[in-house]
């Protein structure tokens, strides 16, 4: 059982993801995108960073690299895929999930702690929580505002594919608690299958017990199933 943490040029949370997964007892290794997915891959992380410098749209270049064909194929066969931050942007750009992440409402990069509410607890990524649970997770992005066409948003809601929403400490989903202006305060969504998810907050930064907060552990435990 090995989780492949795909490293593109400019990825920068690949080492962090391996460290966090290893802490949870999940075997994980970094995989350079040009080398392709190892045969024994049992899960895939698209980590955060600035793939290809984000010199085009965030995630657009990485989404078109050959390894993403392999990632899509694996996802269709049910291999768990988690995209975090830049990995979430790559997930949108490559069609793993609908919608797009674009420039924050503040037009600035924001690195801070936020609260998110678990909307659907019946997925590998949220199995450790109950619906309505409030997690404190770090964000660090300049382009995290989730945008999606109205009919697609309705479909996401109907199909219970909204995983996490930004909320206040009490779990109320308010505009003031929306750090980047995301539609519907969406912080994380599911793909066609519940085994595919992307999110802007960083669960790997809220996993190691020697740092402040471990609310992200449950998300990464999705790879242990």
């Amino acid at each position: 059982m090995t989780v492949a943490v795909v490293q593109f040029g400019g990825s920068n949370c690949d080492r962090d993801s391996v460290r966090a997964l290893s802490h949870l007892g999940v075997d994980a290794e970094r995989v350079w995108h040009e080398d392709g997915l190892p045969a024994e891959t049992t899960g895939i992380v698209l980590p955060g960073g600035f793939s290809y410098g984000d010199y085009l749209r965030a995630g657009a270049m990485a989404a078109r690299s050959p390894i993403m064909d392999e990632v899509r194929a694996a996802a269709e066969e049910g291999t768990p895929v988690l995209g975090v931050c830049n990995g979430a942007q790559i997930g949108c750009e490559s069609g793993l999930v609908p919608g797009a992440f674009t420039t924050n409402r503040s037009a600035r990069f924001q690195c801070e702690r936020v609260h998110v509410r678990v909307e659907n607890a019946d997925t590998p990524w949220t199995d450790a929580y109950d619906a309505g649970d409030v997690l404190e997770l770090p964000i660090a992005h300049g382009e995290g505002r989730f945008e999606i066409a109205a009919e697609n948003y309705d479909r996401l809601e109907r199909e219970d594919r909204i995983l996490l929403r930004y909320c206040d400490a009490d779990g109320d989903v308010t505009d003031a608690a929306n750090p980047n202006g995301s539609t519907g305060n969406v912080a994380g969504v599911l793909g066609d299958r519940e085994s595919v998810a992307v999110m802007m907050p960083h669960p790997e930064r809220a996993t190691l017990p020697d740092l402040d907060g471990t609310d992200g552990q449950g998300v990464l435990r999705g790879f242990r199933r």
């Binding site: 920068n12 040009e34 984000d54 990069f109 020697d210």
Partner: protein, 702 residues
């Protein structure tokens, strides 16, 4: 700027002929103030740079200090002052790039950045333009390359109006078996250039950094500023790791000031060698570049490696894997440093003469004088609000929120506290980092103020339970040819050296930036210090009050307001406060007490004095009521003091017996309010009002 006549004469007498155009340009840049420290080197011997922990001291790309037998941290600091004035975004970004490559060239992986920034008055439009551009430049570059920016400082002072300062420090991590230096090892080894292609950017940056900024510098000097490419820098970080993993590097130097000519000549000179370099072999971005341009361009994201001939293929393959350009430009050789271009010899000089032959300047200095006490009769409430809402003391959240300070999953104590703590699990050590200076202090009293800067940084570490380990400095001054400016500069050097030595903190490296002078006059002499400390574990008492303890003030005040934010706001003058007689004992004891279970929160007293320190500690749940004899006691900024919230005040008193006075400030209240009584007057502020006062930067810029 061209080569001064006196330098020309020295060169002619050494070479026995006139220098070629390429040689003259090389000497002009490498013998510039920026590269050769001509006006400052005679002063720098004041610093103590040794301790049992120091593995590599000053003179390499970065210093190396041991955490244990196998785990080392690297430390480096660099200024990017003039470029950041001309083009704040790119100037600051490339400063980050440069100091990170200094870390790479030691074989280390960069784990933390700290930036100390200095601008003109915050209410000036131009200062805000520079501030916003610099912060964005640092953020975009540092965030992209995945190195967290965890510490730093921002100060505003009218004398930076025509010349802001951007001082960037980087801490890296390396093990004993991966350590590389910038000392060439063996004649016959190949010199390999890896990274970006060389273009005509940043020509003459070193000499541009070594003269006053002219009135039209923003337009005239733009070609001397480089443009950064963080994506390539990130690839360079990965490639460097892979090269070190496979032990392919014999020595390394990053290309910074004076480009290829600087890096390659310094590398071979340090090993006592020369070189044979074919400039045509450098991979180039533009056609028809001449020898001088290839030698001196400061194109970013390039490294020069010394590689054994048998390893060259493997190095090329790794560069290729990470989409980086790579060219074998020549080799380490006995004899002179020789460069050829199109079959012709364009440089043929002794490497050591080029690297170390610059004549030193012997400049006149006028010793600064101290001011006397002349205190105004200011309204207490107005004064408190002016001090607490001054951008110097106010929250810097607007700044550090733009920096990714958590990437790397090591940040145990985040920005906004006295120091950051990064977890170095490899050595089970928390590395605390504090960086900054205080222009008000060093304007009021360069020598005493600079001592205070060193003590304040050490106190920042100590209150988080860390023992200072080593420091690097970035010494910024105006035009040294002005005797009063040079006198002030000499005083900050001596003051910093004295206090670091007293605290047994070796100053293991640094950077000097002079000629920070413009039509608006010289900058305040500014001794930025980046200090690291070590502690067992990664937990530290927070800055915010937790309630449930007793509040103590530890340390003696200097009973004076010279250099304080209070005087900056209300006017008047005073002498600079006297510092503790035995500051090393205070720092040592604070570090021990901070790690006790019974210690609930800690905060050092500095900018804005005790009144502001307490305002920063108050939360919506927990407040405090404190009485002061007079305004001096409330706003005195004497460093080496701390507020300690403890459940065991008796033990704290015992620990400080014979070290420093301990005063009880009171018991935290549960109303979330600050109450300050000075003489017969009392001020009351709710936590929310304090937060509002302190959010001036966010309010003005968002």
């Amino acid at each position: 700027m061209s080569l001064p006549d006196s330098d020309h004469d020295v060169i002619v007498s050494e070479l026995g002929r006139d220098p070629t155009a390429a040689e003259a340009a090389l000497f002009e840049n490498l013998w510039s103030e920026h590269c050769a420290y001509r006006s400052s080197r005679p002063l720098l011997s004041a610093f103590d740079s040794e301790s049992p922990d120091v593995v590599v001291g000053p003179g390499d790309d970065a210093a190396v200090v041991a955490l244990d037998d196998e785990t080392y941290v690297t430390m480096g600091i660099e200024s990017h002052n003039h470029p950041s004035y001309v083009d704040p975004y790119d100037g600051a970004a490339t400063g980050v790039g440069g100091i990170v490559r200094d870390t790479l060239s030691m074989g280390a992986y960069p784990i933390a950045l700290a930036d100390s920034l200095y601008f003109g008055s915050f209410d000036r439009e131009h200062s805000r333009y520079l501030f916003e551009g610099v912060v964005e430049g640092i953020a975009d570059y540092g965030n992209s390359i995945g190195v967290p920016t965890v510490a730093g400082s921002v100060d505003f002072h009218p004398d930076y109006e025509g010349n802001p300062l951007v001082n960037v420090a980087c801490v890296g991590l390396v093990t004993d078996d991966r350590l590389v230096t910038a000392e060439a090892k063996r004649a016959g080894n190949k010199l390999v250039l890896v990274g970006n292609a060389t273009g005509r950017d940043g020509l003459g940056g070193a000499s541009f950094a070594s003269e006053d900024l002219s009135e039209d510098a923003e337009t005239e000097d733009r070609p001397a500023v480089q443009v950064g490419d963080p994506y390539t820098e990130k690839l360079l970080i990965e490639a460097n790791e892979a090269l070190i993993d496979e032990d392919l590097i014999r020595s390394a130097r990053d290309l910074g000031a004076a480009g290829l000519g600087g890096a390659s000549s310094e590398l071979v000179a340090k090993g006592g060698f020369g070189a044979r370099i074919e400039l045509d072999r450098v991979h180039q971005r533009e056609p028809d570049m001449n020898a001088l341009e290839i030698l001196l361009a400061e194109s970013q994201e390039r490294m020069c490696y010394e590689v054994r001939p048998a390893d060259v293929d493997r190095v090329e393959a790794i560069a290729e894997r990470f989409d980086l350009g790579c060219s074998v430009i020549g080799e380490v050789a006995e004899g002179n440093y020789v460069c050829t271009f199109e079959g012709e010899t364009v440089v043929d000089v002794p490497a050591e003469f080029l690297a170390d032959g610059a004549p030193m300047n012997d400049l006149d200095a006028v010793e600064p004088t101290q001011t006397e006490r002349d205190l105004p009769n200011a309204d207490l409430g107005e004064a408190f609000e002016a001090v607490a809402s001054s951008p110097n003391t106010a929250s810097k959240r607007w700044v550090y929120r733009q920096y990714d300070h958590e990437v790397g999953v090591r940040t145990a104590l985040r920005p906004g506290d006295d120091a950051a703590v990064v977890a170095v699990r490899e050595a089970e050590t928390g590395v605390a980092i504090s960086a900054g200076a205080n222009p008000n202090w060093t304007t009021a009293a360069p020598y005493e103020g600079s001592r205070a800067v060193a003590l304040e940084n050490a106190t920042n570490l100590a209150v988080k339970g860390a023992t200072p380990l080593a420091a690097v400095d970035c010494l910024n001054g105006g035009n040294p040819e002005k005797p009063d400016v040079y006198g002030g500069f000499e005083a900050i050097v001596d003051g910093l050296a004295e206090m670091c030595s007293t605290l047994s903190v070796p100053v293991v490296g640094g950077n000097v930036s002079l000629y920070n002078d413009s039509v608006a006059g010289p900058i305040p002499p500014t001794p930025t210090l980046a200090m690291v400390g070590a502690k067992d574990g990664y937990d530290a008492p927070p800055l915010s009050l937790s309630g449930g303890g007793t509040l103590l003030l530890v340390g003696a005040d200097g009973d004076a307001l010279g250099g304080s934010e209070y005087l900056a706001q209300v006017g008047g003058s005073d002498r600079f406060p006297a510092l503790a007689d035995d500051p090393a004992a205070v720092v040592r004891t604070l570090a021990a007490v901070a790690n006790w279970e019974s210690t609930l929160s800690t905060h050092d007293v500095s900018h804005g004095g005790l009144a502001v320190a307490l305002a920063e500690m108050v939360t919506a749940e927990t407040g405090v009521a404190v009485e002061f004899d007079d305004a001096v006691a409330a706003f005195d900024e004497t460093p080496g003091r701390a507020v300690v919230e403890t459940t065991d005040p008796e033990s704290v008193r015992e620990a400080f017996e014979g070290v420093a006075p301990v005063e009880t400030l009171g018991t935290p209240t549960d109303d979330g309010a600050l109450s300050l009584t000075v003489g017969s007057e009392t001020l009351n502020y709710a936590a929310e009002e304090l937060a509002d006062l302190r959010s001036v930067i966010e309010r003005e810029l968002d």
